[in-house]
Symmetry: C2
Subunit: 177 residues, 2 copies
Amino acid sequence: MTDRRVARTDASVIGAFERLLDERGYARMTVREILEAADVGRATFYAHFQGKEGVMTAFVAGVIDHVAAPANAEPGHDFTGHEGVAAQVEHALRHVHEHGHAVRALLMGGCSSEFIGALREAVFERIRKATRDDYEARFLTGALVETVVRWVETDFAEDPQALATSYAALAAGVLGP
Amino acid sequence: MTDRRVARTDASVIGAFERLLDERGYARMTVREILEAADVGRATFYAHFQGKEGVMTAFVAGVIDHVAAPANAEPGHDFTGHEGVAAQVEHALRHVHEHGHAVRALLMGGCSSEFIGALREAVFERIRKATRDDYEARFLTGALVETVVRWVETDFAEDPQALATSYAALAAGVLGP
DNA sequence: CCAATTATAGAACAAAGCGTTCGGAAACTT
DNA sequence: AAGTTTCCGAACGCTTTGTTCTATAATTGG
């Protein structure tokens, strides 16, 4: 193992990025400001990340990791069967909510591509296993991503459980008889 | 009426933007290059648009206008009823295809937010009229946007009509009995 | 405990873009 | 033909970027 300092520095940068994302938004944030908030030198930064975009990528990857983490691995839950869909969706929504403000700033600040792209991939991978048709999976993926995005945009107004239930119900209609 | 020169200049800029979007992508394109290709002065440009982003916004608005233009207004078509859904979707797909390469460059170049955002709004507005539930409309909007984005990303590999038919079939399952 | 390795900080640097401003030329209007 | 509007080209100041270099501090290993 090399050093924990590197991980610590990276975490500090990503943390500062998330904070500034919430306060000012992606566009109104300069690399220098991030580093000032993170107490990290410029030279160090450019040795770790590929510019501001690199930080965003890392941040998004972290969030998606949580969202798409095998829901099955959660202890004490049964994620199979029909109402398993609702449970999984609710699980993902709760993890998105953890980084709620920052994700919201990302989406509203014109930087949705990164987050949505990663979300699409992760969600599709999961849903695909429960469908026969590839397009069926795409269809359901789109619906779910829209649900999440909408939810974030409206500042998490709706109840995660209710949303998940609604989604599962309509999805059942798609998956058919 | 003031002058047609303004409109002509704007169109020239947007046209050059679309061309460069196809060739180099949004990020690898500078304002100076756009204006050189458009034969427009810098001072003029900044009097008409709000920077590069402003041009993108205008470009996207133009595309969306076509996509979401009242399909009912098309002569010789009946867009009501069940297979009307498929017809409308196919109509929208064909209009997206008109600006295919540029839209693709926009999506792949990390600038999907603008286009997808506009598309979501336009599509939702349409779909909402055919549903009782607001969430139902969101669900179907998400599925359709995913269809379009996927289609663009895969370089329009699939047949528009087939895609539209698939969508209509699954949507029928959602709209239920 | 000292030496070698590795991470970091800080400053200075060149390069690239941006957005604005100003005078003058060109085009349209009446 | 005079007046109004649009356009151009050049110049300017400013911000941000990413790199490089030197020196300091922390970690590791003998």
